[in-house]
C-alpha cells in the first residue's frame, strides 16, 4: 500500500499567531488614545500608560513577526505575494519601536511626534492584522 502524502499549506494563521497579532491591535490603539488624552489634558499618567501599551504591543507584534516570517518561509513558493503581510508587520514593528524611543523622552518632549507616530502605527497594525488574518493580498497560487 502506498501513502500519498499531500503537502498542505494552511489557509489560515495558527491560533497562537492570530492571538499575538490581534493582541497588538488594542495595545497600539490604546497607546494612541492615551496619547490623545495626554495631549489634551497634560495629565502625565496618560503618557506613562502609552509607554507601557507600546512596550506590550511591541512584545506581541514582535512574536507575531517571528510567526509571520516562519509562515512566509513556508509559503513563499506557493504564493506570489506572501511577503506582503510579514513586510507590513516588520514596518509596523519598526515604527512602533521608534515610537517607544520617542515615548522615553520626558514629559511634553514626547509631543507632538509621539502622537503622530501612535496614530500611524495604530493604522498600520489594523491594516496589517486584517491582511494577515484574512490572508488576502497573498496572490494566487503559483
Amino acid at each position: 500500500m502506498t501513502v500519498n502524502v499531500d503537502q498542505t499549506y494552511p489557509e489560515t494563521l495558527h491560533p497562537l499567531h492570530t492571538l499575538l497579532l490581534a493582541g497588538a491591535v488594542p495595545l497600539f490603539l490604546g497607546a494612541m488614545f492615551s496619547d490623545l488624552a495626554y495631549s489634551s489634558s497634560y495629565q502625565i499618567q496618560w503618557t506613562n500608560f502609552a509607554s507601557w501599551l507600546i512596550a506590550g504591543a511591541l512584545l506581541f507584534a514582535g512574536l507575531a513577526l517571528l510567526c509571520a516570517i516562519v509562515g512566509w518561509v513556508r509559503t513563499r513558493r506557493r504564493y506570489r505575494y506572501a511577503f506582503i503581510y510579514p513586510l507590513l508587520l516588520l514596518v509596523t514593528w519598526v515604527v512602533g519601536f521608534i515610537n517607544a524611543l520617542v515615548h522615553a523622552k520626558d514629559a511634553w518632549a514626547t509631543m507632538p511626534t509621539g502622537l503622530t507616530l501612535s496614530i500611524i502605527v495604530a493604522l498600520l497594525i489594523c491594516v496589517t492584522a486584517w491582511i494577515g488574518v484574512t490572508g488576502c493580498l497573498k496572490g494566487g497560487a503559483k
Binding site: N48, S51, A55, I98, D106, A107, W108, T113
Partner: protein
C-alpha cells in the same frame, strides 16, 4: 569609562526621524556670561556611565604644595561631612530615594546608571572620625548615630546637632568630645519625602544659628512625574530652629544639593544640579547666592528666561520672573558639595569656594569627577574654576571615585567624601 553608545546601534532607525547629533565638544561654560546652545535630544539620550575600579595604591591628584590621604575607608556611602569644634569629623552615610519606576525607560536607565555607583548598602548612620594626636591620621572611629533615614545635611549650632534625613529634620544634643549620641534624635519637622526622586536634603545654619536652611530637590528631571508631585519641591526652606516654623526661602531650584553661608556677609549660597536630556551642553549646573523670595526657573525656564519646551501647561509669568544664577559650573558636572575656603588653604586658594563634582552621565565625553575651586573677588565668583582634587577618572578609562560633600577643616584641610570608593579624603598643605 564604559561608553554605552547605544545611539550608534539605533542610528539607522533613528535617522528616519531625527538626526543623532554627535556634537559633544566641551565649550567654556564657566562663569556668569555664557553662551547656551539650542536644546537637542536624539532618539536616545547620550549616556556614558562611570566604570568603577579600586584605587589600589593610587590617590587623587592635588595641586603642588598639597598632599592627600584617605582618612577613612569602607564607609557605607559617605555623602556630606561636618567638622566639629574639637576637630572630629562627622560623616553622613546613606542612600535614599527609591522613586517608583513609571515608564519602561526608568527600568532600563535605572539599571544602566546603577553600574556607575557603589553597590554598598545604605549606611543610614553618622560615623565619627577622630585624630587623637593631630598627626592627620584619624585612628579612632565610632558610630555616632544609626537607624537614620538616609541622612545627608549636617549642621551644628551650639550644643544642637541638626541632621537632615531624607524625610525629616532632626536634632541631637551634642557635647564636645562626644563619640556617640545620647539617644534617638528629636524631630524638628517632617520634610517633603513623597516619591523623593531627588532625595538629598542639604542643610546649613545661619551665622547666628536662628535659622536653618534645608534644600529640597525636585521630584523629577522635568515634571515627568506630574505637576502634583512638585508641590513643595525644588525649594530651599528657611526653618526657625526653635519652633520648626518654616517658609520657602527660594524656589525654582531644581536640585539644590549643597548649601553654605558665606563668612562675613552671612549670605546663603547653593549649588544646583540642572536638568538633563537637552543635549551635552545644556543645562549648566550652577553656584549662586540665594535671593530671599527668588525664583530660579525650574521647571518652566533654565538659566534665566530660557523656556523649557517640555513643560506643560506653560507658564509665561513664571518664566518672566526667573532669575539668572551667579555662576555656571558647566553642564552635567553634578555639583554635590560646596564649602567656603579661608586663609588656612594658602594664598592661592584662600578666597573662593570648593565644589565637589560627582560627574556626568548624560554626555558622551564625561565632565566633572573632580573637586574644583572657584576663586572669589569682592564676595563674588571671579575667574575660571581650578582643579583642586582630580584624577577620579583615570586615563585608563576607569573611575575610582566620585566626590560628593566638601568641608573646610579650619585647622587647614579640605575634607572630601567619595561615595564610589566609600572613602573620606583629606587634603592638606605641605608644611
Amino acid at each position: 569609562m564604559k561608553t554605552l553608545n547605544l545611539c550608534a546601534i539605533f542610528c539607522v532607525s533613528a535617522a528616519l526621524l531625527a538626526g543623532c547629533s554627535r556634537e559633544d565638544a566641551t565649550p567654556n561654560q564657566y562663569g556668569s556670561d555664557i553662551r547656551l546652545p539650542a536644546p537637542e535630544r536624539g532618539l536616545l539620550p547620550n549616556m556614558t556611565i562611570a566604570k568603577p575600579a579600586a584605587w589600589g595604591d593610587r590617590v587623587p591628584t592635588v595641586p603642588e604644595g598639597f598632599t592627600i590621604s584617605a582618612i577613612a575607608t569602607n564607609l557605607n556611602i559617605p555623602r556630606q561631612t561636618l567638622v566639629l569644634p574639637n576637630g572630629d569629623i562627622l560623616v553622613a552615610e546613606g542612600r535614599g530615594g527609591g522613586a517608583a519606576k513609571l515608564k519602561p525607560k526608568d527600568v532600563i536607565a535605572g539599571y544602566i546608571k546603577a553600574k556607575g555607583n557603589t553597590t554598598v548598602k545604605s549606611g543610614n548612620s553618622l560615623t565619627l572620625l577622630r585624630d587623637k594626636d593631630g598627626d592627620g591620621v584619624y585612628e579612632d572611629r565610632s558610630i555616632f548615630a544609626e537607624d537614620l533615614n538616609a541622612p545627608y545635611g549636617l549642621a551644628l549650632v551650639g550644643s544642637n546637632l541638626y541632621v537632615a534625613n531624607q524625610d525629616a529634620l532632626v536634632r541631637f544634643d551634642y557635647q564636645e568630645g562626644q563619640i556617640s549620641a545620647n539617644g534617638a534624635p528629636q524631630k524638628i519637622l517632617d520634610l517633603p519625602s513623597a516619591i523623593n526622586h531627588h532625595w538629598t536634603k542639604a542643610l546649613t545654619a545661619s551665622e547666628d544659628g536662628r535659622y536653618l536652611y534645608v534644600a529640597i530637590g525636585s521630584n523629577s528631571n522635568i515634571t515627568e512625574r506630574g505637576m502634583d508631585a512638585e508641590v513643595n519641591r525644588a525649594q530651599v526652606w528657611q526653618i526657625d530652629a526653635q519652633t520648626g516654623a518654616y517658609k520657602p526661602y527660594a524656589t525654582g531650584l531644581r536640585n539644590p544639593t549643597a548649601l553654605a553661608i558665606q563668612p562675613g556677609t552671612g549670605v546663603l549660597w547653593v549649588v544646583v544640579n540642572e536638568r538633563d536630556e537637552l543635549g551635552p551642553n545644556l543645562v549648566p549646573d550652577y553656584l549662586t547666592s540665594v535671593k530671599e523670595g527668588g525664583f530660579y526657573g525650574w521647571p518652566w525656564a533654565y538659566w534665566g528666561k530660557n523656556v523649557d519646551p517640555r513643560v506643560r501647561p506653560e507658564n509665561p509669568s513664571k518664566v518672566a520672573e526667573s532669575l539668572t544664577p551667579d555662576y555656571s559650573l558647566g553642564s552635567h558636572v553634578a555639583a554635590l558639595g560646596v564649602t567656603f575656603s579661608s586663609d588656612v588653604m594658602g594664598p592661592k586658594f584662600a578666597n573662593g569656594v570648593f565644589v565637589g563634582e560627582h560627574g556626568s552621565w548624560n554626555r558622551a565625553n564625561p565632565v566633572g569627577y573632580r573637586v574644583s575651586f572657584i576663586p572669589f573677588a569682592d564676595g563674588r565668583p571671579n575667574g575660571q574654576p581650578i582643579d583642586f582634587v582630580s584624577g577620579f577618572r583615570g586615563e585608563d578609562g576607569k573611575t575610582r571615585g566620585r566626590p560628593v560633600g566638601v568641608t573646610l577643616d579650619p585647622r587647614g584641610a579640605l575634607i572630601v567624601a567619595d561615595d564610589l570608593a566609600n572613602t573620606i579624603w583629606r587634603v592638606v598643605r605641605k608644611p
